[in-house]
Amino acid sequence: MRAWRIFLGAGLFLALVSIPACRKKAAPVAKDPLRSAYDVEPDWNDPQRLISLDYQQAQGKRIFYQDCVWCHANATPAGPSNRSNLNPQPSLMNDGAALNGESDEFLQNIITLGGSAVGKSAMMPPYGRTLTQDEIRAIIAYTRSIAMPLYQPPARPGPPYSGKGANESRK
């Protein structure tokens, strides 16, 4: 009988010892995605809403404010915009209704080759000899990130991932 008690005690001891192995890490405090973002850009239509940008989108933002803003926004760092001067009027860079329907490839082409090469206005100059292909991709990534209505990337093949085993311990 005593032996049984000892075995029970040993078993309990073992269980206690192995508890740390099963211990779950306390979930860290959820971080504010905007505070941890590489960069942010206020929504053009609603400056209160901030959009977080990753490295590539932030580079796109930088190039946009250097080269594109003059005609593709209603306000520029210098004040007035050139947009109202032009006919046809260029799309606003966040105009999702106009740009979400265009593929990345099309946008890459019109920026690289200019408007006249893709059957649009010749007022859009080609940037293929000024910007690198990576820089142009960054501009497109930025455009997608500020698009309003929101940009939905084309659906990828395969069923949606359930998320099990990936996010369970760190969210």
């Binding site: 032996a3 000892i6 075995f7 040993a10 001891f13 073992l14 010892v17 192995s18 192995a21 099963c22 890490k25 860290p28 505070r35 941890s36 973002a37 590489y38 960069d39 990753d54 490295y55 590539q56 989108q57 580079q59 930088r62 250097q66 080269d67 003059w70 005609c71 520029t76 210098a78 004040g79 007035p80 050139n82 001067n85 032009l86 006249s116 010749a122 007022m123 100059p125 080609p126 940037y127 000899r129 000024t130 990576d134 991709r137 960054a138 990828r156 093949p157 395969g158 069923p159 949606p160 991932y161 359930s162 998320g163 099990k164 085993g165 990936a166 996010n167 369970e168 311990s169 760190r170």
Partner: protein
């Protein structure tokens, strides 16, 4: 116990032995059992399940093997096992935000991850294989992951110069320089300039004791109750230069007494010609005329004034010099006249140009400034201080040294104070255990520490001598980024080799041009071979760009070339001789290797070429979307109405072939024009000239005054 039973374990002992053995075996089994449940294994298995749920399973799993994965770069001390859990980091098809972490691909960056590892930029503990160990500060590891919004600090570890890709870091470094942090702290790659704050040797000739008292108590730029930075009561984007010191009433009295007695050098006696004064004194429009002249000379390019438009008061103008809205209540009249005639006589290192004033203009403008740019209430809350007493001045002198004023301000007979505050040149690599948090309750990490020190120095150390700066959140983050980038000596020789030093160009021409250049301070706004300001066009190749006659006309009477520009070249009242010296120097020295001025003369173009060029301009390339000719066209590029008189044909050709070769970073895109098209466009552009001499000088002056 019987003898034969000795040494023979009792039943009870055997039981104890058996149990102990079982316990030992069980304890030994714990380790492999725990190993089965390692955190990283869960993530690796999770990745396999994730990959199997996608269409491109085969590609996603082609390199996958079950164990720990790492990037090992011995020469840089990199052993990064981050890729053990962040498995899909180089899989371009996993870039989308819908891919769960830790499997998402890294956004494209200039440095391939396999060649650089992760911790070089992100910090954290590379060899760790647990989430908390690798990401956070632990007992064994003090450098946690750097939050993404400060990650540009890591770029600055090696790239000591500015990079286009790191605007936040560049801004932070610029702010460190602008706030004169280098006055008290040693900072990596920022040298002490010749003058930090103004030289106070002679300040008693400029300011009253009351004004000094007010300024010390509440410097020009303060934070209002809503947390906005205000200058003299006006909201602004400008950064404060003089910070706020925490001074007691007695200290304020003493310092104001000491400073108001600083009159080492008498003002130069250069009063305005009494005949000019007599002629203008009685005119009713004297101050209005002065204001007109103030505007025509474009003082606003460097100085701002509060302007009320539609009920909203804002500061309008540049921020190179101080804001002037209440300057008339600040400075003494005699000082102002003497200053405007020769700023460098008072402050040898001032960036203010020495204008060529006529007595008439000088009288009108000083009258305007002292009569209009005033605020009768400015000193209303300052007590009557009276003449400074000797003991007050003595105390003031002592305080001046104790508070570290001499770090930024020179006073005759007082040696400059260097390294008054702590050395910050390796702040970014400091461990938490090296920081003193005192009584404060902020989180124990480097970033919180740096930000608390900057936003409120006394919150960490109540006895801190550091004054109060007022920064908005964006600037605070930028400065933090710049401070974190100062890593001190790199940890390995491999890293040491990667450091790209900061280029520190200078341009100080000698001779006649050097004199004109220093007098008008061209470098404050213009860049020459990498040296100088960026408010105005880069003049490194101006000799290739502009025609000599145009250059002289422009120097004598600057006009704007870009319709959207608010800040313009001031009118310096240069003499003909000075303008000729500048134009000659530009023509001889500031030449681009890409432009061959001797090879092309404008007479080589035919009218047919010009006609073709006009057609290309208007139809094929639609240049009018950005440039104005006549009164129609875009605002982005310069106005081309007078381009035939302005630019050299050789420059136009070279520009059309490759604008960025002449002005790096210019926004005019480089196109693929054929040789014939380049010639035709050049031929067309040089036909664009103002008729005859264009507008007269008087008309130009009037137009500028009305803007």
């Amino acid at each position: 116990m019987a003898f034969e039973e000795m040494g023979k374990p009792s039943r009870r002992m055997r039981l104890v032995m058996a149990i102990t053995c079982v316990l030992f075996v069980a304890a030994l089994a714990i380790s492999p059992l725990k190993d089965l449940r390692r955190e990283w294994k869960g993530y690796r298995q999770g990745y396999v399940r994730f990959a199997e749920s996608r269409a491109d399973t085969k590609r996603l799993l082609s390199d996958f093997r079950p164990g720990i994965d790492q990037i090992w770069i011995p020469e840089m001390n990199v052993v990064d096992r981050c890729i053990t859990c962040h498995v899909g980091i180089t899989q371009s098809s996993l870039a989308d935000a819908s891919v769960p972490q830790p499997f998402r691909a890294h956004p494209p960056i200039p440095h391939p991850i396999q060649e650089w590892g992760c911790t070089v930029c992100h910090r954290g503990q590379g060899p760790a294989t647990e989430v908390a160990e690798s990401h956070e500060t632990t007992l064994a590891w003090e450098q946690p992951l750097l939050p993404n919004r400060f990650i540009q600090a890591s770029c600055g570890n090696c790239h000591r110069g500015d990079l286009a890709e790191t605007p936040k870091l560049d801004r932070g470094r610029a702010l460190l320089a602008k706030f004169n942090c280098v006055g008290c702290h040693r900072i990596q790659d920022i040298d002490r300039p010749a003058m930090l704050g103004p030289d106070l040797t002679n300040v008693g000739n400029k300011l009253s004791r009351e004004w000094i008292y007010k300024w010390l108590k509440e410097p020009r730029t303060v934070l209002d109750k809503d947390g906005n930075v205000v200058v003299d009561g006006y909201e602004t984007e400008d950064e404060p230069r003089m910070p706020q010191f925490r001074l007691s009433e007695q200290e304020l009295r003493a310092l104001s007494a000491y400073l108001s007695t600083q009159k080492a050098k008498p003002l130069e006696n250069d009063a305005i010609n009494p005949r000019v004064v007599a002629a203008w004194e009685k005119k009713p429009d004297l101050t209005a005329q002065g204001e007109l002249r103030f505007r025509q000379m474009f003082c606003s390019t460097c100085h701002s004034l509060a302007v009320t438009r539609a009920g909203e008061t804002k500061l309008i103008g540049g921020n190179i010099g101080p804001e002037l809205t209440k300057i008339g209540s600040k400075v003494k009249r005699e000082w102002l006249v003497s200053w405007l005639r020769n700023p460098q006589a008072y402050l040898p290192n001032s960036r203010m140009p020495r204008y060529g004033w006529s007595d008439e203009d000088l009288y009108k403008v000083t009258q305007y400034v002292t009569a209009t740019l005033t605020d009768s209430d400015l000193l209303s809350d300052v007590p009557q201080l009276g003449a400074p007493a000797e003991d007050e001045a003595q105390l003031g002198r002592r305080l001046f040294a104790e508070k570290g004023c001499g770090s930024c301000h020179a006073i005759e007979g007082m040696s400059a104070q260097k390294d008054f505050g702590p050395d910050l040149s390796s702040l970014g690599s400091k461990n938490v255990s090296q920081l003193e948090f005192g009584e404060s309750t902020i989180p124990r990490n480097l970033i919180s520490y740096v930000q608390a020190k900057i936003t409120n120095p006394s919150s960490v150390n109540p006895a801190a001598r550091m004054p109060q700066y007022h920064l908005n959140e964006t600037d605070l983050d930028a400065i933090t980024t710049a401070l974190l980038s100062m890593g001190g000596t790199p940890s390995s020789s491999g890293m040491q080799k990667l450091i790209l030093p900061r280029a520190q160009p200078t341009f100080h021409p000698a001779g006649a041009f050097g004199v004109v250049y220093e007098r008008y301070k061209c470098h404050v706004c213009h860049k020459f071979n990498g040296y100088g300001g960026d408010l105005a066009p880069d003049l490194s190749y101006e000799g290739s760009r502009a025609q000599r006659k145009w250059l002289i006309d422009f120097l004598k009477n600057p006009q704007t070339l870009r319709p959207t520009l608010v800040l313009r070249m001031p009118q310096f009242n240069m003499t003909d001789q000075e303008a000729a010296i500048v134009a000659d120097y530009f023509g001889m020295v500031l030449q681009s290797p890409a432009v061959d001025l001797t090879a092309r003369d404008q007479t080589q173009f035919t009218p047919q070429q010009a006609a073709l060029g006009k057609q290309l301009y208007e139809v094929k390339y639609q240049c009018q979307s950005c440039h104005t000719i006549g009164s129609s066209g875009g605002y982005v590029g310069p106005n081309l109405n007078n381009v035939g008189n302005w630019l050299t044909p050789a420059w136009i050709e070279a520009w059309l072939r490759n604008p960025q070769a002449l002005v790096p970073g210019t926004i005019e895109p480089r196109r693929a024009f054929s040789d014939d098209e380049v010639k035709a466009l050049t031929a067309f552009l040089i036909t664009l000239r103002h008729g005859g001499e264009g507008r007269t000088t008087a008309e130009n002056a009037a137009a500028r005054g009305n803007q």
